[in-house]
Every structure is written in C-alpha cells, then in structure tokens.
Amino acid sequence: MELDYGFMIETFYKIWDGIGVTLGLTALSLLIALPISFYMAVIRLRGHKLGTGITRFYISFVRGTPLVLQILLMYSLLPSFLNFALKSMGSSFNIFESVNPFWYAVIVFSLNTIALLAEVFRSALMSIDKGQMEAGVSIGLSEWQTYRQIIIPQALVVALPAVSNITVNLIKGTSLAFLMTVKDVLAIGKIAASYGYNYIEAYLDVFVVYIIVCTIVQLVYRIAEKRIGAFRAV
C-alpha cells in the first residue's frame, strides 16, 4: 500500500480549516443548551408538574432515538415547516436557498445537548447538601443569592467531568452534520478524497485532526476542574 504523503499534508491543512465549523457548531450548541438545560433541571427539582412532564417527555424522546435519525428528520422537516410558516404569513423569503444548513445543524445539536445536559445538571444539583441552602438563608441571603453564590458553583464542579464528556461527544457527533451538507472537518476530508480516490489519506488526516482537538478540549476541562474545584482538593 502506497500513501500519497504530498496529498496528505496538503489535505491536512484544508481539513484543519474546517475546524472552525466543527468547533463553532459545538460551541454554539453548548452555549444555547447551557441555560435552557439548567432551567429544565431546576424545573424538575422544584417539582413543577407540567414542566416536569414536558421535560421528561422531551428527554426520553431525544434519548430514545438515534442522532442520525434526528438529523435526517429535522433536516427534512424543519425547512419545509419554516417555508410553510413563512408562506402562510405572506413572506416571499426563500428558506431553501437563503439559510445556511449550518443553522439547522446548530438547532439539531442544541436540542440534543439540552436533553443530555439537563440530566447532568439535575443530578449535580441534587448532589449538593440541602444544608448549604439552609445555611445561606439562615444568614440572610435570598434563595436566589444562595443558588448563585453557593449551590451553582458547587454543582458546576460536580457536573464538569460529565460536561467534558458531552462536549467531546458533541465534537465527534458534529461530524454527522455532513448529512446536512455542512462543510465540517469530515465533509472537507470526504470531498478532497473524492477527486483522486485518496480516501485512506484523507480519513487519516481527519482522524488526526479529531484526536488533536478532542485531546486539547479534555485537557482544558481537566485544568478547569482543578481550578474551580480547588476547594475540594485537600
């Protein structure tokens, strides 16, 4: 087997350029999912009946279906649905040509991440001793002040390893965005390979890019956990 090293190096840089799309997709989905999932976790812990029911239904829906299916379904459903909605409002905006599929990908991955993070936050918040809240209100803090200063910072440290996992899985999961014609790391690799059938070289490049990125991200999380969790380490 003969590898075309020249092609491999050249393609590596091309693929590396796609990292912006991959990380952008990951970061945007996480940023959108963080507040919403946290709010869902709080709703469930507070025992709000309707909110809990909706949240649980939503989480079991996301968990019980493959990501590929969610992507394919949303990519078929969402543009048509939006088109229908716009048309019925009398707008002549062409949704099929004007919207970058990147944004559909953001929506799908956000919806997916929300469900995963909501469960992580719920268990993290539950792990904080209720004496912390009692101590907070007993010295004259409001419940919200105690949440912000005491409960949430402690829960975040508990949640961080799981959030790190979810982030890395999300980075890898965004590779499925090529199904929506998003040009991420994997899509660029596939396209480059298809010109001269250098699939092995291109896939090895993609492989290396993912390993580098995921390793760095995990490292960053580990450092963050050490720093914001300093109070636990004795």
């Binding site: 001793d129 912390q132 209100v137 803090l141 300093a230």
Partner: protein, 255 residues
C-alpha cells in the same frame, strides 16, 4: 422582652411533633432546651427562623407580630436577618474560604461594603480563635474548627438572638470542649442564645433558663438550679437520671 412565641403546633405526616409550645426570651438570656431525641426540640428551633414551617403559632419579635403558619416573604427575610443559626452539621459553604463564609452574610446578605465586612469578619474569627485559618477551605478543617467558624458566621451578622441546634453532637469528644468554650464566652459577653443540646454541664453552668421537652410539649422549665437539683416532674427526673447514670457508669462499678 426580645421575643415571644405562642401556641406553636407542628405535624409531620399526621404525627403531632409540637403541641402548643410557648416561650419568652429576654435580651441576654441563654435558653437551653433539653429532652430525649424525638422530643421536637430541633423542629421547634427550626420553626423559629422558618427552616421548618409551623402549622400554627404566633411570634412577636422586633416590632412584628407574625403568624408562624403563613409568614410573608418580607417577614421571613426580616426574621432571618435578625437571627442566626448554628447547625449540627456546621453547613459551612464548601466553595468559600473561612473568611468568605463569615463575610457573605454581611456583603451579599446585608449590602455592607467589603472592607468593613472583612474587618467585622476578622473580629468574629478572632473571637472564636480561628483567625489563623481565614484562608482555608472548610474541607481542610476539623469538625470542631468548622463549628467555630459556623459560630463566627453567626455572630458576625450581629443578630438579636443566635439559635444553636445541637452544635456539638456531631463532634469527636475531644473537640467538644473548644466549641463549648466559645459558647461560654459568648454567653458571658451577653449574647442572647437558644441552645438545643445534650451537654448537661454546659446547661447547668451557663443557662439562664432551662426548658425540658418531651413528646412535643414543654414538661418543665425554670432556672438550671430548678431543673437539675429540684426537678418536679417525673419525666424530667427519669431523663436526668438516665443521662447522669450513663455518664457515671464507670464510677458505679468501682463502688
């Protein structure tokens, strides 16, 4: 009179744990509540700052007349700002240093400027002998040290009354002394305290008023001399007898 509590009742799932309790506290009083476990003393204490909600009861405190069963948010906040609570399990804020633990009620809780709050907090830590641990996290301290910080956190906000919920019962025996000494010092300095405890010697020495509770009612109350030397009620006598016999078991065998 600083605080008056009337007709407090509380049920947990059909079981009446507090049955018509009344209490009056004057400034500088050290009220010690004794009683076997399950007698409702801790629940009673927790009702006073709304960590537990009473089913019935009135509280007169700081120009307020509060229905303990349905206090307004404003009343709850007002009472909590004028009282402080020392927990059996310390409940120090795990993610804050010792100094931050003591400062938080002043800065975030009461909007006192940081510099002033830090000075007050350091003074409080000085009083409990924990100033040299100001930058430690709770996880780095022993139980006794944590509880002294818990007391510093309570006195820093200068409350009208401090509620102590079995402050020494989670501690190793050799650490109890330090915490009790801090509490004795507070009492000497005129701090108003309500203390739920099993420390009989502390009660006998420091209490201005002793309440003996059993089965959700106050069985007997009076000065520490009344209760310890001349108890009238049979239940009080039995309780004291049991406590002191256990304490002196070793001596009995020698006789």
């Amino acid at each position: 009179m600083l605080m008056s509590i009337k007709n407090v009742r509380k049920k947990f799932g059909g079981v009446e744990v507090l049955k018509d309790l009344n209490m009056e506290i004057n400034k500088g009083d050290v009220v010690v509540i004794l009683g076997p476990s399950g007698s409702g003393k801790t629940t009673f204490l927790r009702c006073l700052n709304f960590l537990e909600r009473a089913d019935e009861g009135q509280m007169e405190f700081a120009d307020m007349n509060i229905d303990l069963s349905k206090p307004s948010d404003k009343e709850i906040a007002a009472v909590r700002k004028k009282t402080a609570f020392v927990f059996q399990g310390y409940n120090l804020f795990a993610n804050k240093t010792v100094l931050e633990n003591v400062m938080l009620g002043l800065t975030t809780g009461r909007g006192i400027p940081k510099a002033e709050a830090e000075q007050t907090a350091r003074d409080a830590l000085q009083r409990v002998g924990m100033i040299d641990r100001a930058d430690y996290y709770p996880a780095q301290l022993s139980g006794g040290q944590q509880q002294r910080v818990g007391i510093a956190r309570a006195i820093a906000v200068n409350p009208d009354v401090i509620l102590f919920d079995e402050p020494t019962s989670a501690l190793d025996p050799e650490l109890v002394g330090d915490v009790l000494k801090v509490m004795r010092d507070l009492a000497k300095a005129g701090t108003t305290m309500i203390v739920v405890t099993h420390e009989m010697k502390f009660a006998a020495d420091v209490a201005t008023h002793v309440i003996f509770m059993d089965g959700g009612v106050i069985v007997e109350e009076g000065t520490s001399k009344d209760i310890f030397q001349h108890p009238k009620e049979e239940r009080t006598k039995r309780f004291l007898h049991r406590i002191f016999c256990t304490a002196f078991d070793g001596l009995d065998e020698d006789d």
